[in-house]
C-alpha cells in the first residue's frame, strides 16, 4: 500500500469522524432549540391559564359588585374580562393544538365557562337590568339571585374550572419535566458520542502518524546504514524490502543501484588487475630478449675485445647503454605495477630508524649533508610503502643535486590525526610549470638517454599516497631548491 494512499485515507477517515461528530452536535443543538421553543410555548400556556383563572375571579367579583352596587364600573370590568378570556381561550386552543389531552381539558374548561356564563352570569345580569325598571322586577331579581345562590351551581362550576385548570397546568408541568429529562439524556448521549468519536479520531491519527514515523524512519535508517556501508567500500549490501510503498520502492532502487555499482566496481577492479598483470607480464617477456641482447653484446666485448675496431666498440657501448635504459624502464613499470598488490602488515615503525636504513642505499655524492630532525615520530603503520616514499624522495634529492654544498633536510609537523613529513633540498629546484608533470610515470626532466632517470620514482610515491587518499605537495622554484611534503596517518 502506498504511503500517500495511507496518509490520504487516514486523513479522510479522521475527517469523516469529525463530520459525524459535528453532525450529531448539530442535531443536538436543533433538539435544544426545539426544546427551548417548546419551553417558551409551555410558559405561554401556563401564563395564559393563570390569566384566565385570574380573569374568572375578576368576572365573579365584577358580577357580584354590579349585582350588589349596580355601579357600571363593575360591569365594565366584567365585560373586559369576558373579552380577554375569549382571546386567551383562542390562544390556548392554538397552542395546545398538538396535545389532545390538554385540548380535551381546554374544551371542558371552555364548556364549563360557557355554562357558568349561560346558566349564572347572563340570567343574573338580565334580571338585574330588569330590576332597575320596576320594583316587582327588583323583587323577582332578588328572588332569582337567592335561588341561584341556593342552588350552589356557581360554586360547583367554579370548583370544576379550578380543578380542570389544576389538571391542565399539572399536565403541562409533567410535559415539561418529560421534555427536560429527554433533553438531558440526549445531551448526555451526544456528549458521549462526541467524546468517543474524538478519542477514536485521535487514536487513529496517532496510530497512523506513529506507523508512518516508525515505518519511514526505519526505512531511512536502513538506507542510511546501506549508504554508509557503500561509502565504506562494501558494495555487496542489500536491504530487505517488503510491500509496495514509496519507501520500499526507494529501497529497491537503492538495492539496484548498489548492485549495479558493485558490478561496475568489480569490472573496474578486474580491468585494473588485468592492466597490472599485463604490465607485469609484458615487462617480464620483454626482459628476456633484452637480457639476450645484453649477453651477446657482453660476449662480443669479452671474446673479441682485441680484434674489434674502435668505432664498433663505441657502437657496442651505445647498445649496452640503451639496453640498460630499457631495463630500468621495465623495472620501473614492474615496481609501479607491484604497488598495492601485496597486502602489507602494520607494525611499529620508527621513522628515524627508517631514514637511517635508507641512508645506506642513497647514492654516494660528495658534499651533501643529510640533516634529520630528532626525534621523528614512531608510527604503527605499513613499513614498506613509507620506506618507498622516503627512499624515492631522498634518492631524488641526492640524485639531482648539483651544488658543492648540498643540504637535504627531513622534518615533520604533527597534525590532529596525521603527520606531515617534509623532504627539503637546496638543489636545482623545479619550475612551477613542471610541478604536476613530475608525478606522471615516465615523465622526467632529464633527457631520454640518461639511463639513471626513468621517471618512475615520484609516480610510485604519488601512487602509494593516492591509494591511501593521502596528499603530496611540492614547493619549488628554479635555483631555490625543492620541498616535498606528504601526509601520513598516525595509525
Amino acid at each position: 500500500m502506498k504511503i500517500s494512499f495511507l496518509i490520504l485515507s487516514g486523513f479522510f477517515l479522521i475527517l469523516l469522524l469529525f463530520s459525524i461528530t459535528t453532525y450529531i452536535n448539530y442535531q443536538q443543538s436543533q433538539k435544544v432549540d426545539e426544546n427551548s421553543e417548546k419551553f417558551s410555548k409551555s410558559s405561554t400556556t401556563l401564563r395564559s391559564s393563570n390569566r384566565f383563572q385570574r380573569n374568572i375571579l375578576n368576572l365573579v367579583s365584577g358580577l357580584r359588585g354590579y349585582l350588589l352596587t349596580n355601579e357600571p364600573f363593575f360591569i365594565q370590568s366584567y365585560d373586559s374580562a369576558v373579552i380577554e378570556n375569549e382571546q386567551i381561550l383562542g390562544e390556548l386552543r392554538l397552542i395546545t393544538n398538538d396535545n389532545p389531552a390538554q385540548k380535551k381539558l381546554l374544551d371542558e374548561i371552555a364548556s364549563l365557562y360557557d355554562r357558568w356564563g349561560h346558566e349564572f352570569a347572563q340570567p343574573l345580569l338580565e334580571a338585574k337590568k330588569q330590576a332597575t325598571i320596576s320594583d316587582s322586577a327588583a323583587k323577582s331579581f332578588d328572588h332569582f339571585y337567592r335561588r341561584k345562590l341556593k342552588e350552589g351551581h356557581e360554586n360547583e362550576i367554579q370548583q370544576s374550572i379550578q380543578n380542570k385548570f389544576r389538571e391542565f397546568t399539572n399536565s403541562e408541568y409533567a410535559f415539561r419535566e418529560e421534555q427536560r429529562q429527554t433533553l438531558t439524556a440526549s445531551v448526555q448521549q451526544t456528549r458521549n458520542i462526541s467524546f468517543y468519536l474524538t478519542i477514536l479520531s485521535i487514536v487513529i491519527g496517532i496510530g497512523i502518524a506513529g506507523f508512518l514515523a516508525s515505518h519511514i524512519s526505519a526505512g531511512i535508517v536502513k538506507m542510511v546504514e546501506m549508504a554508509d556501508s557503500i561509502s565504506a567500500g562494501n558494495y555487496n549490501v542489500h536491504v530487505d524490502t517488503r510491500g509496495m510503498d514509496e519507501i520500499s520502492r526507494l529501497t529497491a532502487s537503492l538495492n539496484n543501484m548498489a548492485r549495479v555499482l558493485a558490478e561496475h566496481i568489480m569490472l573496474l577492479n578486474r580491468k585494473n588487475e588485468e592492466l597490472n598483470q599485463f604490465a607485469h607480464i609484458v615487462s617480464h617477456d620483454i626482459k628476456t630478449p633484452l637480457r639476450g641482447i645484453d649477453n651477446v653484446v657482453s660476449w662480443i666485448e669479452e671474446d673479441h675485445y682485441a680484434d674489434t675496431p674502435r668505432r664498433v666498440k663505441e657502437y657496442v657501448g651505445m647498445i649496452k647503454g640503451r639496453v640498460r635504459r630499457a631495463e630500468s624502464l621495465l623495472n620501473g613499470i614492474l615496481s609501479y605495477s607491484r604497488i598495492g598488490r601485496e597486502i602489507q602488515k602494520k607494525e611499529l615503525v620508527s621513522v628515524s630508524e627508517l631514514i637511517d636504513e635508507i641512508k645506506g642505499y642513497l647514492p654516494h655524492k660528495k658534499g651533501i649533508t643529510l640533516m634529520v630532525q630528532h626525534p621523528l615520530p614512531e608510527l604503527y603503520t605499513e613499513r614498506l610503502p613509507l620506506f618507498q616514499v622516503f627512499s624515492n624522495l631522498l634518492n631524488n634529492a641526492y640524485h639531482y643535486h648539483n651544488k658543492e654544498n648540498g643540504i637535504v633536510r627531513v622534518f615533520h609537523k604533527e597534525m590532529s590525526d596525521h603527520y606531515k613529513f617534509f623532504v627539503e633540498d637546496n638543489g636545482p629546484g623545479i619550475a612551477r610549470s613542471y610541478h604536476e608533470k613530475i608525478f606522471v610515470i615516465f615523465q622526467t626532466l632529464q633527457e631520454g638517454d640518461s639511463s639513471e632517470s626513468t621517471g618512475v620514482g615520484l609516480a610510485i610515491v604519488k601512487k602509494i599516497l593516492t591509494d591511501r587518499k593521502l596528499n603530496i605537495e611540492v614547493m619549488s622554484e628554479p635555483g631555490k631548491g625543492s620541498t616535498f611534503s606528504f601526509t601520513w596517518p598516525k595509525n
Binding site: 617480464h284 628476456t288 637480457r291 639476450g292 645484453d294 649477453n295 651477446v296 660476449w299 614492474l334 601485496e342
Partner: protein, 139 residues
C-alpha cells in the same frame, strides 16, 4: 684432489640464457656435462632417456627455468616431486620473476635454491648452487 664431472640437466627455453649459464660455469671452472631441454616435456623425456651420448642416469643437478612453453617449471617440478625415481634430485630455479608469491610456490616444492636472472655471483641462490657444484666436484 679428484675432480668429478657434474651432470647437469638444464631446462630452459632461451638459448642465450643457456649460453650465458655455460659461460659462467666455464669461467668458474666447473667441470660439467649439460643436457639442455627446451621445456618441461623435453626435460622429462631427457630424464627418461637411457642411452644419451653425454651421460646416462640421473643428473646431479637440475637447473630449471620457470617460464617455458608447453610445460612450465612449476608443472615440471610437481611431476618430479611426485615420482619415486627423481624426487630427490637437487633443483635450482632460474627465473626472471621477483614475485614473492612465485618464490613461495617453488620453495614449497622443495627447491635447493632460487636464482634470479641475469646471473650474478652476488645472488644467494647462485652462491648456493656453485658451492654445491664445487662440493660435488670435490667428492
Amino acid at each position: 684432489m679428484m675432480n668429478h664431472v657434474i651432470n647437469i640437466l638444464l631446462v630452459e627455453d632461451d638459448i642465450l640464457d643457456a649460453m650465458d649459464l655455460q659461460r659462467t660455469l666455464d669461467r668458474m671452472r666447473i667441470l660439467y656435462k649439460m643436457k639442455i631441454a627446451k621445456n618441461g616435456e623435453e626435460g622429462l623425456a631427457l630424464l627418461e632417456q637411457q642411452d644419451h651420448p653425454l651421460f646416462s642416469g640421473k643428473p646431479d643437478i637440475i637447473l630449471l627455468d620457470m617460464n617455458m612453453p608447453r610445460m612450465n617449471g612449476i608443472e615440471f617440478l610437481q611431476i618430479l616431486r611426485n615420482s619415486n625415481e627423481w624426487r630427490n634430485i637437487k633443483v635450482f630455479v632460474l627465473t626472471t620473476s621477483d614475485e614473492s608469491e612465485d618464490e613461495r610456490i617453488m620453495r614449497s616444492l622443495g627447491i635447493s635454491g632460487y636464482i634470479t636472472k641475469p646471473l650474478k655471483m652476488s645472488n644467494t641462490g647462485s652462491i648456493d648452487a656453485f658451492n654445491l657444484m664445487i662440493d660435488l666436484m670435490n667428492m
